[in-house]
Amino acid sequence: MSNLKDLTWEHHKDAERQDFVKVLMSGRIHPEFYATYLWNQHMKYDLLEALISVTGKVNHIPDIYRKQYILNDYLELWPHSEPPQTLQSTYDYVAHLKNIMTDAQALLGHVYVLHMGDLSGGQMIARKAPGAGRMYKFDGDINETKEMIRAVTNDHMADEARSCFEFSTQLFKDLMELDVEHYLEQTD
């Protein structure tokens, strides 16, 4: 039985405490600000999923790959021809994946954080975020999909999982430092 949840608890909570999460969960996040988040998430998932697919470790999990859904959600909400800003934490994440690109165990630590997150907290975000929120909808049973991820993860992935939480925390901080006109949708 994996203790990854316990082993990453502090890092998980630290990510959840960020102001961006409060904005996200307010139910009033501005669609363009949320699309900026999706753009950066897509860049992370796009590479992670390309790398983990080569290992064959999660290919049996139904509908596990999220990058196209994230891209579609982003395209639904972003009205401009030029994409939003790619944030430093996203660049840092891509550079980090270079170091672990052939380490299936390490990559699974990231799947545990990101994809398990979509299956867990993501289900609450789906009710608060603008747009179709397709990235949080899975074809299979949510609990069964989570179990399948648990089955391929173990405690040895804790360091990478913590690292993934740290990148997410930094992404949330970077987002809140953006010079955007509105974080929240205007009600009046």
Binding site: L47, L51, P83, Y91, V94, A95, K98, M101, T102
Partner: protein, 229 residues
């Protein structure tokens, strides 16, 4: 009449000749859509190279610009580097020329990269220009990046260098087939493609040449640097 354009079209023809001599042209699904009178996309492969791609946009008449992109990926059990050569040129100057042997699963110390670094040593200024992060993730520290090349002499030197290196690439790449882990090479080539897809100048430039915006977006994702599923 433009001397630089003529030299570049000669270069395009020579690259096609090198590809024809060393590999076999094939029909890649979806690529036909990106061929017209002014947009050329062709691909070749052999036992050691899985994809040798040339992409030329000829907008001389409409925008006064000509662009070429050349990229060669080794097969997945070959740890050799990825060959790249990109040029964009106006009538009287090459506005940009970029050339590199970028690391795949063989890493940055691969013998072919060492050979490339020796070949380009005289072209690389001591003080290299600052590159964006997506570029530093994949290009060697000896990537050739030239801008505003106005003289015929310098343009010819860059073209000849890229052609010599392409011939050397095909001469040597076969030596490394069979000594690489397929998964590691797939990951390394996907990493290269992912970072190339972050280059914001590629779609901007292609759109500025008058190509359809939706076509360019699809082309940059699916055809220019396609990841291996």
């Amino acid at each position: 009449m433009s001397i630089i354009w003529n030299k570049l079209i000669d270069c395009q023809n020579e690259i096609i000749k090198i590809f024809d001599t060393n590999a076999t042209e094939y029909d890649e699904p979806g690529l036909a859509h990106f061929n017209s009178d002014t947009w050329v996309n062709r691909v070749w492969a052999n036992d050691h190279v899985r994809r040798a791609h040339i992409d030329v946009v000829d907008a001389r008449d409409t925008k006064g610009l000509w662009m070429m992109h050349v990229c060669v990926f080794p097969v997945l059990n070959n740890d050799g580097p990825i060959y790249g050569f990109d040029v964009i040129s106006g009538k009287t100057k090459m506005t940009g020329a970029f050339h590199d042997f970028s690391a795949s699963s063989g890493g940055i110390d691969h013998p072919m990269i060492e050979g490339y670094k020796e070949a380009v040593a005289d072209f690389i200024p001591t003080k290299q220009r600052q590159l964006p992060e997506w570029a530093t993730n994949i290009f060697t520290d000896k990537m050739l990046a030239a801008g505003n090349v106005r003289t015929e002499e310098e343009a010819v030197a860059i073209i000849e260098l890229a052609l010599d290196n392409l011939r050397a690439y095909f001469d040597e790449i076969g030596e490394f087939t069979g000594n690489a882990d397929v998964a590691a090479t797939t990951s390394a080539q996907n990493y290269y493609c992912h970072n190339q897809q972050q280059n914001p100048h590629t779609p901007r430039t292609m759109k500025s040449l008058g190509l359809d915006e939706d076509d360019v977006d699809k082309f940059c994702t699916d055809m220019l640097f396609p990841k291996i599923a």
